[in-house]
């Protein structure tokens, strides 16, 4: 059989967009000697066809007739004076190659069979380069060690992808005779991430059984008991010292976050903390489910693939909730190191934040857009403590029939795996994501990186929705962390299951039974099917070329039995697997830090401050990111992430209209401010809740239908001083949910986000709590946006401005932290939210903007430039606390629960009446002049700036 090689180049005169962007990245690395970069696509095709067909294939399929030209065989360096370096990047053997799959099917459409297709990228760098520069470019820009092989100037082809077939060999990992040291060693050697007590529990179980475990049994236990899967830290009992006062929790989550939901007992909550996503009522017929996950460690190693599979994975959560939902929106929140940090300041084993951000945004973009799900809400937060542990939160919202919110697997049902095939990708993902990263993880855990193919998932979604509608399966869940092990184990928890592992369809031969069982290969789901429905469901899948394979049966003996070619390779009691783990107890401590407010002189003028805050990364426009996401697919958008006269102002929340035939909408928002946690994580968490809710209220969300999600991303919580802040934040979640009557419906945690540098230095992320929120919009036609609408309209502020500059952006740009972190008045905040919501529903409000990072000055600037209209504000009307006398405090304090509201003069009385008994005041009006003017309470002008300067300051920093 012949190995054909096709190299596809851009035709001279046709822009090499990819090559140009590589050149840009090389320049950013500080290497200036490269004059040009040419890129080419390489196809390696092993087949029997002849030269004539090869030419046809090149012309009709592989090459664009206008922009590209093809070279069959290996092309040499280009003629010319400049020195040329040839670099090829190939996928490692076994890594999913979606393009190769498509090319194989395209050739099949031409009625020709091929043995194997592989793809690669070729780069020709023109210019003088040293060996170490070439190495840097290859490593930092062109390739990712985890999944790719770089070949520099070589004539050799990469190793053949053919793998040896697997022959069954049952492996035991003896444990019964091990002492404590031996147990710890075994856990470490096998990357089980089980601690001593867990290993002891397992040893005692096997001693009782009188046999040694097989490898697949221990791996199954390790997956099922991993932090990632069971959240042992958040469910542990806690002894906590808060400033010396002792508090005890039997089960932290149950006594904080869950408890609030239980006590609120809202009848519109359908399924909370039980399924793959939290489910709430939408209207009479439909329900909404929402889940937010993190995909932090994979994104640190492979930003593009990690983020893509992060969004791909969380989309499968609603798809696997109840009997399955149709995904209708994505959310994405990221935390990165500062993009301008110097290359030499990056620790070994860590990628540059700019590369991480580009990769993460690219991954979410390509997967989310291909799935046809609008990405409508998000945020990006920058802090150098995220340098080695970037955080990638991906959320997905689904719409489902209200009578299909629960699953019902029965003994005797067939177990089917559907969608993608199983490969070696993502082995040990669940356990890997439960540990801490070191500079060596890049090499050790490269197999934990998963590779996604959105189209496989989209095809699976298309057929699952049809099968769901036809009622052809009894239960569904996704293969996420832990792969088949957790999907089957979870679904068969009350039943038992018998699985024949050799039946699982594989991407390539050679996988052993354990790899098949724990692989986290993407785009797979498990369904439970009655025998009588097998034929009908298979037809739906076959009709659209999606694989669906029976791999076993649910039983009634509460045992998980794994077989390979009829031989038993593992057997576990479901009860031990799910409830056999030890109970955990932890210590936590919180000591309020001794902090003080900085002494800063007051100034006559704060123009520079407001410009600097607007152009700080956390506040600056995220348009560069937002526009790369398709936020309008499905035709559902109502309030888009960008709004205003030039479609570029920052919306507070997104609103979508999930059903074509109804004007009911869904508002989606988030709140997060890790900086506040440096002063007190309790107020950080409440600020996050208040902010997420403010954002919903600003666009017209109902105040009595708010549902919240929590995502805790923390450092190593075995340290009491790291765990203490988490307990504080969890307490705040309870208090906030009760005060706003907004139950938590789902949550997730990601712990041990720490990095051990080669020199022993430890980098831990700041305590980070993301609050995601949704609410119902009764009539989307009444939604409001944040941009100033018309000159001579009146501006009000509702909510009190207090002396709360602690951890503010104003202090941050001046290098201070301060002490007075913004608090939330749990009595007043819900009242204000309710009144604003009513005023919007009554049509009294033409624009409304949440007052958050950068305070009132930034909120007013954003409203003005988004609307293309001026604002003249006078702080004599500002409702403020007695200690809020300084001008900078009034301008930049980030006090919670404040809304800037634009009202038409004709509605002044009605609006004022509605706000009676709340802290509110008129602070100015919208003007025709294109400038922002703010007068302090002594009547002196303290900010005067034209809109263009303000907008440019805000737009420039991240317009890459």
């Amino acid at each position: 059989m012949r190995q054909w090689r096709f190299e596809i180049f851009n035709r001279p005169g046709s822009a090499d967009v990819h090559g140009n962007s590589v050149l840009e990245d090389i320049n950013e690395l500080g290497i200036s000697s490269v004059e040009a970069v040419q890129s080419a696509k390489v196809f390696l095709i092993e087949a029997d066809f002849d030269g004539a067909f090869a030419k046809r294939l090149a012309k009709e399929v592989l090459t664009d007739p206008v922009c590209e030209e093809c070279y069959i065989g290996r092309s040499g360096p280009p003629a010319g004076l400049a020195k040329a370096t040839l670099i090829e990047v190939h996928l490692k053997s076994g890594v999913t190659d979606p393009v190769a799959e498509s090319v194989t099917s395209a050739i099949a459409d031409m009625a020709v069979a091929v043995n194997n297709v592989r793809t690669a990228r070729k780069y020709i760098l023109l210019g003088e380069l040293t060996t170490s520069q070439i190495d840097t470019i290859a490593k930092k820009i062109l390739a990712n060690d985890c999944i790719e092989v770089v070949m520099i100037g070589s004539e050799a082809e990469p190793p053949s992808p053919h793998l040896k077939p697997y022959e069954l060999q049952i492996t035991h990992w003896p444990i019964c005779d091990l002492d404590d040291d031996g147990l710890v060693r075994l856990s470490k050697q096998k990357d089980l991430f089980l601690n001593l007590v867990e290993m002891q529990t397992i040893r005692d179980y096997y001693k009782q059984l009188g046999r040694e475990p097989t490898d697949v049994e221990l791996e199954t236990l390790a997956q099922t008991w991993s932090e990632h899967c069971v959240h042992k830290t958040l469910k542990s009992s806690v002894d906590m010292a808060i400033d010396g006062r002792q508090v005890h929790f039997e089960n932290l989550l149950k006594e904080t976050v869950f408890k609030a939901t239980e006590e609120l007992n809202k009848k519109w909550c359908i399924s909370v903390f039980a399924d793959n996503a939290g489910v709430v009522e939408f209207d009479e017929d439909s329900a909404i489910c929402f889940k937010v996950e993190t995909h932090n460690r994979p994104s640190a190693l492979d930003p593009y693939g990690g983020a893509a599979t992060g969004i791909g994975g969380v989309i499968r959560d609603p798809m696997g909730t109840g009997m399955g939902a149709r995904p209708i929106a994505n959310t994405d929140i990221f935390c990165f190191g500062r993009p301008e940090i110097k290359i030499e300041d990056i620790p070994k084993g860590v990628l540059h934040p700019r590369r991480i951000m580009k990769g993460v945004v690219g991954g979410v973009r390509d997967y989310g857009n291909r799935m046809g799900i609008p990405t409508v809400n998000g945020a990006i937060y920058f802090d150098d403590r995220y340098l080695a542990n970037p955080l990638v939160f991906c959320g997905n919202i689904g719409l489902m029939d209200k009578d299909k919110c629960f699953k019902n697997p029965q003994s005797g049902n067939l177990v089917m795996v559907v969608g993608g095939r199983t490969g070696r990708d993502g082995i040990h993902g669940a356990t890997f994501s439960s540990g801490e990263i070191t500079h060596e993880y890049e090499t050790i855990f490269s197999h934990a990186v998963q590779i996604g193919n959105a189209i496989t998932e989209k095809k699976m979604l298309d057929v699952l929705l049809q099968a769901n509608k036809a009622g052809l399966y009894e239960a569904i869940t996704d293969c996420g962390a832990g792969g088949l092990s957790s999907a089957v184990g979870e679904m068969g928890k009350e039943l038992g299951a018998k699985i024949d592992l050799e039946k699982v369809p594989l991407k390539y031969t050679g996988l052993n039974y354990t790899e098949i069982w724990i692989s986290e290969a993407q785009e797979r789901m498990v369904i439970a099917v009655r025998d009588e429905n097998l034929h009908a469901i298979k037809k739906i899948f076959d009709d659209e070329d999606v694989e669906a394979t029976v791999i076993g049966r649910f039983t009634n003996d509460e045992k998980l039995v794994l077989r390979y070619n009829g031989q038993k390779v593992g057997e576990l009691d479901m009860q031990f697997l799910h409830d056999g783990g030890p109970k955990y107890s932890r210590k936590a401590v919180w000591q309020s830090p001794a902090l003080a407010e900085p002494a800063m002189a007051e100034k006559d003028n704060y123009n520079d401050d407001v410009l600097e805050i607007l152009s700080s990364y956390n506040v600056a426009s995220k348009e560069w990111v937002i526009r790369q996401y398709d936020h309008e697919v499905q035709g559902s958008s109502v309030v888009k992430p960008l709004t205003g006269i030039d479609n570029d102002g920052p919306s507070d929340a997104a609103v979508i209209k999930p059903k074509f035939d109804s004007d009911k909408g869904l508002a989606i928002s988030c709140g997060m401010n890790p900086l506040y946690g440096d002063i007190d994580p309790y107020w950080m968490a409440l600020a996050g809740i208040d902010e997420a809710i403010r954002n919903l209220i600003c666009v017209g969300g109902r105040v009595d239908r708010i549902a919240l999600l929590d995502n805790f991303s923390w450092g190593n919580c075995t340290r009491p001083e790291t765990f203490g802040p988490l307990v504080r934040a969890a307490q705040a979640c309870y208090d906030g949910a009760i005060a706003f009557e907004a139950p938590f419906i789902s949550g997730k945690d990601s712990l041990n986000n720490e990095f051990s540098c080669e020199d022993g230095r430890q980098i831990a992320i700041p305590a980070t709590l993301l609050i995601s929120a949704i609410s119902i919009v009764d009539d989307i036609n009444r939604c409001v946006t944040m941009d100033a609408k018309r000159a001579s309209n009146l501006l009000f502020i509702v909510g009190e401005t207090k002396n709360e500059l602690g951890a503010s952006h104003y202090y941050k740009i001046h290098g201070h932290l301060g002490a007075n972190v913004p608090r939330v008045d749990l009595q007043k905040a819900p009242k204000i939210a309710r009144k604003i919501s009513l005023a919007i529903a009554d049509g009294l409000v033409v624009s409304c903007h949440d007052c958050s990072e950068g305070g009132l000055a930034v909120a007013l600037a954003e409203m003005a430039f988004a609307g293309g209209l001026g604002i003249e504000a006078d702080f004599r009307g500002l409702p403020k606390s007695y200690d809020c006398s300084r001008t900078d405090v009034q301008l930049f304090s980030e006090s919670n629960s404040r809304y800037v509201v634009e009202v038409e003069p004709a509605n002044y009385d009605a609006f004022a009446r509605m706000m009676l008994n709340l802290p509110f005041g008129q602070i100015g009006e919208v003007t025709q002049e294109k400038s922002l003017i703010i007068k302090a309470d002594d009547g002196k002008t303290v900010i005067q700036s034209d809109l263009d300067s303000l907008k440019q300051a805000w737009k420039r920093p991240l317009s890459w």
């Binding site: 822009a15 967009v17 990819h18 140009n20 962007s21 696509k41 009709e60 399929v61 592989l62 664009d64 007739p65 206008v66 922009c67 979606p98 393009v99 498509s102 090319v103 395209a106 459409d109 031409m110 973009r365 390509d366 857009n369 291909r370 799935m371 046809g372 959105a454 189209i455 989209k458 009709d543 659209e544 070329d545 526009r627 790369q628 398709d630 936020h631 309008e632 697919v633 499905q634 035709g635 958008s637 109502v638 309030v639 888009k640 960008l642 709004t643 205003g644 006269i645 479609n647 035939d661 109804s662 989307i780 036609n781 939604c783 409001v784 946006t785 941009d787 609408k789 624009s847 609307g867």
Partner: protein, 271 residues
Amino acid sequence: MIQKGKISNGVKAMVLRAAGINCDMETDYALELAGAKAQRVHINRIIEDKSILEQFQIIVFPGGFSYGDDVAAGKILSNQIIHHLFDAIQRFIDDGKLVLGICNGFQVLVKMGILPGGDSAGARQDVSITYNDSGKFEDRWVYLAPQTRSCIFIEPDRQIYLPVAHGEGKVVTKDEAALENLKSGGHIAFKYVDKNGQEGTYPINPNNSVDSIAGLTDTTGRVLGLMPHPERFVRATQHPHWSRLRNTPAENRCDGMTIFRNAVRFVQRNL
């Protein structure tokens, strides 16, 4: 809430489905709003039984990422159609029926040679669609100026406002002569312009298409392909700043509907 147009039994539209196509539901909805009876049909069903096509007067190739846009946008699907359905589609057009390609659908029509079309449709490959000059996917709204009076989908005197959302939308021609052919043959359906109807650079022309081309039509005027998404502007609250236009509804006219309504009207009158 929007009231659907009165569904006329006469007008039946097919919305093509295939792996990775993802704008089929909203396209189906837009056609029904315009008064057609729309049906989403998977390509495998048509390959099994080409006579399905006879039931319809309109075929829409919707947006999405057919087969992941692997190799190049629309390439694998166009190859599949060329080898299995080309004659059937050609007959559909020859029968006087309508074909609309939106975004990925436009890319497919161009890559299989149906657009710009002409005597040697299928073989002719001097026009293509490639990566945006910006090097990235972008979702943004654009103004479109009609360039022809003979494409049945288009109101010749009405500038419209629609979103684009693509990474490969730059229309290119092999040479000057090919561009000249597009102009002289009346193939240019829409150009990207600014609010005042003037051509310009990025972001007015969001991908740097040659001659600001946003859409193409064939010689019959019954085949239209365009990068922007008309199905994404069929209700007033889809306008990116509709909340500013509450009191001036005339400025917010659901421009996307014109294309679907014109198609339905043409079928009602002529087929």
